[in-house]
Structure formats: C-alpha cells, structure tokens
Symmetry: D3
Subunit: 246 residues, 6 copies
C-alpha cells in the first residue's frame, strides 16, 4: 500500500486498524564507477514496497535525498545539510502524528543518514521531554543491510569484498530492481581503499573512484534477488516486533 | 535520463554538454474523495520523465513532499513547514551548483509550493546579493498545469468544473499515469465550494471532502492522456527557452 | 487611527468593536533614476492612513524594509532575507493575536514581498495545522496596485509604459504624498527593458538604471492624486469584505 | 536627509563623501495610561531627522518594532522575538555594508532593545571573527535619553519622578513631536512602583497601568522641546566622534 | 552542593525545600600575557562553589564557553556565537523548569556574555508572553565583579589600573583559586590602552597583548583571597534577595 | 595541559608543535539511585586530564551538558536540544580552526551524544563540501568506554551486569575520581530492565529508578582505578593514531 496511491478516506480506514507506517529514506549520491546514483534510495524503496504489499502496511513516499555532503565532490551527488534533514524528518513525523500514526518506521539505505535521523528523533521527543504534552510516538530507524539474513548472505556472497560504500550487495539489489541498468565492470584496484575522511574533497582524494573498501565488480542480478528476499523477510520480522512496542 | 539511474561518470559527461536539470516537485496531500494523495507529485514526475527522455535532459528525483500544512486535517496528508522546504530547495540547488549545474528548472504540481519555492530562490540569490561571490545560477519554477496548451485543453474539457483543488485535470493525469488507480465516482455537491481559508481545521470546515471548486467526477484516463501530451509539449518549449537564458 | 498615536487603553476600547487591523508593508530599494528609495513603503502607508481615517480602522506602523535582495547592487537599497521577513511577519501577527486581533490585513507596496509574506502566513497557520490549538486568525496580503480601480486607471494613464519596477503609477503616488520630492526627468531608453534575472548583480547588468519595463518620465503629481483616490476606494471595499470573513 | 526620500544616484554621491548613516530604532508598546504606543520609535526618529538635516547625514527608515515581549499583556504592544530583531539588525547592516557604508549608528529609544542589538552586533562581527574576511564595520548603539545634556535636563525637570518606563521625559518629547496628541492626565499612584519582573503577565501584575517608577503627569510640550534640543546637540556630538573611529 | 556530585533522588529532596539554583557562566578567552584563558570561568565557579557550600544551595556545572568572538584573534580563545549561547541558556533554563526550579541565578564572569544572556532571558519569557502558558520563572544574571564589596575593594586595591579586560582583580582571583598558576610579570605599557573596537582582528590591532585599560602586574594571591571573600559575601546577599522574589 | 590554565602566548607556542586538542564532552543527567548526575562528564574529564599530562596534549574545558532529553523526567537532569549541541560543537571547532588546530578529538562519556556530535561534524564539513574553501579539519568522536582495554576489563569485572545506563563501570570510575562521593547501595531489582523507549516520560515509565540493564551495586573505587588506567592507555593509543591522520 503506497500512500501516494491511496485516497484520504482509505487512510482513515487504515488508521482504524493500524497506527504503523514505513517511511523509506535513502540518498542520491555517487556509488562508484558502475553504481547508480539512486542506489541508497532504490534499495529501501523496493524492499519497503514488497513489505507493504505482503503485510498490508502503508508505505510513505521515499525520502530520496539524504545527508551525503561527503559525496559532493562527485558529479550528480545531492545532499541535505544535517539541519535540513532533521527538519524534514521532524515535519514528516509531526504530519503523521496529527493523523494518529504512532509507529513510524524509517527504513534506510544510507549509512550517512543514521546519525542525523537519530538526532531528528531526539529533537522530536525533546518537544515532549522539555515539558510539552506526553508523546505516544514510537520511532525507529532500520537499515535494510543490517538485518540478520541480509548480513549472513552478504558475508556468504562477498566476504571481504563487501566493503563500506558502493558495496556489491547494494549494487546487486539495484540491478535486481532495474535489471536494464546493470553495468558489469572490472575495477582497478579490485578492492577500494578504506580510511577515515573529512570533507568532500578529502573524500575524493582518498577514494578517487568513489568506492570505499568494496569490489562491486562482484555484483549480479541473481545476488540482488537473493538479497531482496532476505531483506524483505528481515524487515517483516523487525517491523512486526516494532509495532508491538506499546 | 533519471539522475537516480545514472552513474557519476555519466553525469560528468552530461555536464560537458548541458548545465540544465529538471527537478520535479510535488506534494503528498488529500485530493478529495477519489483523488490520489500523491497526485501533485505524480503529475510533474511523469511529465518530467517524458521531457527528459525526449530531450535527453537530466531529471532529479522528485521532491514528493511539499508545503501542504492546510491539508493536514485530512488523514494521509504530509507537509513540510515553509522554512523546511526553503532549506530543502536551497540544499538541492547548492548541491547542483557544486557540480556546475547553472539552470535548475523546478517543475511543480502543487500551487501551495509556489510562494515557498520563490522565497527559497530569493534565499539562494541573497547569499550572493548580500556581498558573496556573484552567482551564475538561473532558477525557474514552472507549474505543469499553467502551460499554454494545458490551460486551453483544461478549459475545453472541463470549463467551470475545473476548480482549484482536486481538479478533473490533475485527477485525469494521475489516471493516465496509473490506470489501475482510476476511481470514477459521483460526488455531492457536483462542484465543490470556493472560499478563502485559514489553518487546516478551517480548511476542512469549509471543504468537508477536500475539494475546492472542482468536479473530479469528470476525470477520465483519456483526458489524462491528452493533458499529458499537451504538458510535455508545453514543458519542452518552456525548458528550452529557459536554457537559453544567459 | 495610527497605532503609534494611540494609548493602550484606547486599543482596549477599539478591540471591543473590531478585531481588524491594517499593517502597511513596503520596501526600501532603488526605484530608478528619479524614483524615491522609499517608494514601496510610502505608497501603502499613505493609502492605509487614509483608509484608517475614513473607516476608523487601526493602522500599524509600516514595515518599511522588505525582501529586496535583488536590488542590493544599487546604493541605498536595504533588504531582509526571506527567513528574516518571515520571522518579522510571524512575530507581528502573534503579537496582535495575543491582544485578540483576528483579521490582519497586510497592505503591500512591493511585488518582491508577496511570496515571502505568503510563506510567512503558512508558517503561522502551520503552528495550528501541525497539531496546535485551532487558530481563529484570518490573514490577507493585498497590493495597493492590484485593486480594480487602480488597475483600470494605470492602464488608462500609462498603458504599455507602466512596466514592472519604478512604474509611473508608483512614482506618481509618491509625488502626490511628497510633492516637494517630485523629480521629473527624461529617461533613455524611454521604456526600460524586461527580462528574467538572478541575483543582484545580474539584475543590475540587465537593468542598468534600475527600472524594469517602465517609463517613469510620465509620472505626475496629478496622476498620483487620482491613483491615491482610486486605491483608497479599492482598499476600503476589499478590507470590508475581508473583515466579514468568519 | 531621509534615505526613503533619496534616489539611488543620490546615495551614490553621498557615499563619496561619507560612510556613515543613522538608523533610528524604537518599539511599539504601551507607555502607560496617557503615553503613545509609538513613543519609543517617535523619540529617536524626530531627533535623528533633525540631526540628519543639520549635519547632512543620511537617516534610514525607523525600525519601529523592537524587542518588547514583556509589554505584550497590554493591548496594542507589538514585539519581535530577540532572534528576529537580531536577524533584522544583521540584514540591515549587511545591506548597508554592500554599498560601502562603514559607520552604522543605531539611535535607540527603547531600553529593552539594548541587549538584543548588542547581541546582533556580536553576530555580525562573528562572521569575520570566526575566520571570514576582516570587516571594516563600526557599529554603535546610542540611546537618545542617555546623552549628557538630556540626562542633566531630565534630572533638573523631573528628578525622582522620571522613573524607568513611560517617563515624563519621553512622553514630553512625543508631545513636542505631535502636540495634538498630548493627553495630560493625573495618575494614581502619582509615582508608579519599581521591581524586577518576569514574563508579560508578571509585568502587568506588578505594574497594572504599565508605568515603572515614573510620573508622566509631569510631562509637557515645553519640556519636550527642551529635551529635543538637548538630545539633538548630544547626538550631533556623539555621532561626529563615532565617525572619526577608524 | 554541586549538581554534578548529587544523585537524582537528592535533587528531588532539595526541590522540596528550595526552587533556586546557581549557574556559573564564564568564558574561555585570552586574558593578556599572564592571565589564564579560563579566568572568566574560574572566577564565578570558585565563588559559586563557596556560596553553595555556605548556604546549601545547588550549583550547576559551569558554562565555561561564552560569547567571546572579539577575542578569537588570540590563540586558545573559544567562543559561541550569540545565537548558540542563547540556545544553551534557554535549554538549561527549560531543563530546570521541567523539574520545578523557579529561581535561576546565572553567576557570570565575562562582560561579553551580558547582552547575550539578557537576550536569552527575553527569548525564554517570550514563549509565555506571546501567548503560551504563564511562566513562574525568575531569571537573574549577576556579575561577580559588580557586587558592592568587590567594587569597593577593587577600587581600593587597584584604582585606575583596574581597567576593563585582564584586570588585576580577576587575575588575582584566579591565583587565589590556582596559586600554582600565578605568573607575576611586568608589562609594557604598564596600563593597556582603551578604545571601542569592531571584530576580532580590529580588537587585536588595538590591544596587541590582549589587555584593555588594565595593569595585571599588580595582581597577587593575597588580593585574590580578599576579593574572593568579598564576592562570596556580596553573592550570598544578592542570591538571598533574589530567592525572595515571588 | 588544561587550556583554561594556559595563557594565550603559551597556546601560540603549543601550536608550533601540535595541531591537536582533546575536548571532553559529557552530560549532566540522572545515573540511577546512587550514580552521580555528573557521571558522564566526570569520566571523560579525568581521563582526558591524565592523557593531557602524560602526553603534553592540550585539553579544552569539558562540555558538561550534552543531549539528554530522554532523562528529563528525573530531577537534576539537564539537556541541550540536538540543534543546540550541534551549534556548540560547530562553534568550538570553528574557534579552534581559527587558531590553526586541525585535529580535534572529542572525548565522550555519554552514548546519547554520539548521533548529535556526528551530525555536528557533518554540518562542519558541509560548509566546505557545499562549495566553500577546502577544510583541513580532522574530527573524531571517541567514547572512553569503547576502548579495547576498557571493554575487556568491563566484561571481566561485570559481565552481564554492565548494562547500558548507570553501569557499574562508569559509577566505579566516578568513585575513583571522587572517592568521597561513593554511595554503595543494594538495588532492587538487582539488574535493571532493558527496552526501547520514546520521550522522557516513557523512559521513566520503563526504567523507574533510571538505570537500564545495569547493576551498579557492583561498583567500587578499586574497579574504577583499574578502568581509569585502562582507558588512559586506550586513549593515548587512539589519540596518537588520530594525530597521524593527514
């Protein structure tokens, strides 16, 4: 159930049986020489849609632009500043709260979003904690690539070639979603370097083709399909547990 | 050309031949008893994708959540505050500017976004006008429903039943985009009332089913297809003129 | 009735019979070679004062500095950033709301303020729409130059020489208000160019003497007096209709 | 020389001989039972205009609304929040700096503005101090009632009846400026109480008619005229010394 | 009683007998050639701790970094922007208010904080004054160096050598607190210059060794001990009077 | 070397040999029935001071108040909102950057700070990444309780009784630092519950005495001394590696 494809009376009906919603959140940023710029938004979106269909759960429109300032030295990367993303998350949650949603499950595809979204949750709770009305909101940020089944499968498929950015797992998943966009490619070095980094220029200096520690030449549609199924299962399980939080 | 489905080296190549990009911007808000909540995002998105394909123009991910605070008394409506939307537009434009984009064409589906996006443009230019470096940016907000051909066709098809919110034109266009989501329906009153309004509760009091001045029972997939073609033509013309602005 | 020239007990008395107030809002910015920098503040102020006297309506002090960042390449222009003007409008409205004012009529002299003030209204309503207490506020932005009588008279007097900035209509009105400040002058070219523009430097490049599309050499005190009377009548009519909004 | 009554080429000429400008800043707030709500804006405005004429100094439009949140329990009082006033002062100074003004002399009529305007100055200087370009700006806040001659005269005229808010000195000065607005009145108690206070409701509880420690029944037009002359002299002296600051 | 060294049940007990707390606030900034960078935080901290012990008053952790942008041209100086310090003060006060504290006594060691903290108080009260719930908060900013006994003693000890920054009084007090950190030193010129200043670079240009108008070569541990005792007495008296404010 | 106990010329000298500094950051919040409210600030402070002495590294004043909104239902807890803490971290880093510091090592004692401080780092880098000057800054957040030696020792000492808040490790460390503040106590239940939580009231509902998953009755001064030494070693190692980052 995509929120965009419902009418408001249908949402009124939905709220009578559930106070939960999934909000996919990603990023629009370089993913190495052959990874799609939309990778981090596409991954949580396709999984969320499947979870939504299989469990009759409402799925909000994907927040496609995340906190990716460190990728801005690569053409096509878009970023919100942390303060902006905090405001976006706050406004979305507060909109949902007006309607009676209580369990808001942000389903994330981008590691760079995690700290900022957690800070946003704290901002939202602070309105209550600093003396406002008690809030019934339950907020969770889950990463599609952190589920139990996905982690096991990634290790099995790619081991030390998985790396941290432009990973073969996420590239595979996007090819599962958009098979016509698969761009198999041999990369040099095979595995990209790993390091701490500062601003966007420092990032590009250290990782000239954009990857961190990964070998996405191992990506395949078939791996993507397996990862997709694993993540859908992980997410159904995790979302159901989240809904039970009182 | 969807930015999300490109790699960064492909954007580098694109920038060598064009400094223009289309950014669809919409809203997620009630559209009356039978209109999709995603109407205002779906409309500019499908037109922008077609323009992108026919003219080899890059299209950014759709900004699906707009400034719709006045719709928040209807379940499912999401809104950013004006200050948040200003920050989002600013960050997107500044991200694009880092890469060398100069002509950023926001293609809009929601009247409620217009003032805020214009204020955002002024914020962006102000950084330069208040003494910063001269900015080469050219920014435009165009509404898909304001093109010459679309306006003529809407009048011809729906005349005084077009109204201001949940119009038969926009409902038709979403049914063209998602035919399986068509929800033909007879409405009472046939044409919704029109009035000035204050906050979200005042809006709902004046417009109990969400429509303003419109009769979306006239919507049809066929009308949607004609409006789609009209808007694509309008937009190609307008975007090309915009690109020529030095 | 100028708020500045009342005592607080007098306002207490006023509130017992009316919840309406007029807030003139303008700008301080170049108006071409012979137009006063205060034009956009002077025009709504003198009309508002006359409306205030003829209808016993309270008039707040003029907000003389508006959103005029695009004029900052011309000496003497002052501007607030959009975010600042939004905050000013919000604070003024919230101050008035504390006292029980419900109908706040911003009477404007500067096209560049419109988007920002509309965004400010949305910010104010959002406090309620996002779940706060229902707000009884009714807010309107009216432009002195958009009334029915004024528009007809401008067309009659100046036709295609009216233009968009430093218009003969507004220059005439300031000369009606300050006859000793009339600076009749022949200009070259007679009618200034028209174009889209970016930041302040781009504005000055395109419009070297500050005018857009206008020929203020046609301005006269006599025309100003006629425009003044037309606008006072337009505004009394419009303000009365606004007050009736429940 | 009022900025509002100049053209931009005239300001260009002015800047060739002076980098100084006076910005009157006041407040719109209750001034006791017989004091004008505009008192704190009127006082610095009339003095600044006189200084401007006698010394050929440019005077910006008066910032009529200040930081007066503690007066909001009295009808008609308007206030900006401190953060808003800081933004207004910053934007005005930055606008002036674009044109080459270096000495900006805020001429104030409201004690409640002082801390906030000083904080605004620090915000402006911080842009440079935190690593930006060195700033040539010299900023001063002067209060019309703090000059040497005015202080001596107030003591001579009103001694212990001067008090802290709605003082006979400021009331007298507004009557000098607007003789038709004089509202002589006997007050009970003759001298209002003095105390520390918290928010606006606490203020009204402690000072039921709005005055603090003053007896404005002593106000007179004649006293106002003497105070006006004293302050004009004080201010000319102080402004000239300020201009000499390198 | 240091808040940091209590448990929450102990604070619960404290609140049953008192609603007051002392919050030391200082700065981390250059204090001339031989003054400690922590001077302005150390001074109010040691006095507050003594007052806390002698009167069984709770003392919050010291806010060690203040508004000191004008000192940033000297290595080691840290500053918050005014907007940041306003937010810090607001959050601390609102945290305390949640628990039932009503009398919050900021005890200050840095003149540069005064305007900003006063603006912060106004921001806090504004939440109530603009229409929120009535606030019982009483807020005071007291400077350790402004007490009656301290002022008398400083004049007696240092007369015209006291000056305005890096004064012998504050240097002495830090040596009383940290005798091993005393750095007696002869300075040239003996008394530093005095002047108005703009940004940090302008400050350093005018005061090359950081002092303003002072001769800290007169500082001594013995003077510090006498100033400490004087200030503790001043502060106990002032805090007790503050607590009685209803 | 404590920054507060240095003079500015000494910092000038220090910068000639090192661009690194340690900034302890903690929180002021309830730590269960017998834990000190200052626990999270005291722990990193005492370790940082020891590291500073043993390695001649500069240590900034402790940021004692962190992001702890979820603890506000327990008396004595103080919190900054995330946006405030982001501003504080940004201002501190930018102050340090003005002087030439390049390696800023935030040494943290509070898990609730982590997301917000990471978001702050992204805000700081964003100024460069969005098109500003390239930044040489290297920023790291390290938690005292996450070092290799500390983790091993905590497991050895407390195993499953360590828990997540008011842990025996942190309580022990504060008793090492302030032996006179040790408050040995038997608690019921011995091990506190663990759960996800929402706002401050929800936190208190789930964890009535403030602890999460821990048994601080196991705390001892002796354990604290061992943890202190372990953390000092961990931190010296980690800080040195950080300094080598180019």
């Amino acid at each position: 159930m995509r929120l965009q494809l419902c009418t408001w009376p249908e949402i009124e009906t939905y709220l009578a049986r559930s106070t939960g919603i999934i909000v996919p959140i990603g990023s629009t940023e370089q993913h190495g020489p052959n990874g799609l710029i939309g990778t981090d938004a596409i991954c949580p979106e396709v999984i969320a849609y499947a979870v939504g269909e299989r469990t009759e759960t409402l799925v909000a429109p994907t927040l496609s632009i995340g906190m990716a300032q460190h990728h801005l030295a690569f053409p096509g990367s878009l970023s919100l500043r942390p303060a902006t993303l905090i405001a976006v998350v706050r406004d979305v949650v507060q909109s949902l709260a007006v309607h009676g949603f209580r369990h808001v499950y942000f389903f994330n595809g981008h590691g760079g979003n995690v700290a900022t979204v957690q800070a946003a949750f704290a901002e939202i709770h602070a309105d209550s904690s600093f003396g406002g009305e008690a809030s019934p909101l339950r907020l969770k940020l889950a990463n599609w690539y952190m589920g139990r089944r996905v982690q096991r499968l990634s290790r099995e498929l790619f081991a030390d070639s998985e790396g941290h950015h432009a990973t073969p797992s996420e590239i595979s998943l996007t090819w599962h979603a958009y098979p016509e966009q698969a761009r198999p490619m041999t990369l040099t070095p095979r595995i990209a370097p790993t390091a701490a980094f500062g601003d966007a220029r420092d990032y590009r200096r250290r990782f000239p083709d954009g990857r961190i520690g990964s070998d996405p030449s191992l990506a395949s549609i078939e791996a993507g399909t397996r990862l997709f199924e694993a993540s859908v299962e992980d997410t159904i399980e995790d979302y159901r547990a989240f809904l039970e939080q009182d």
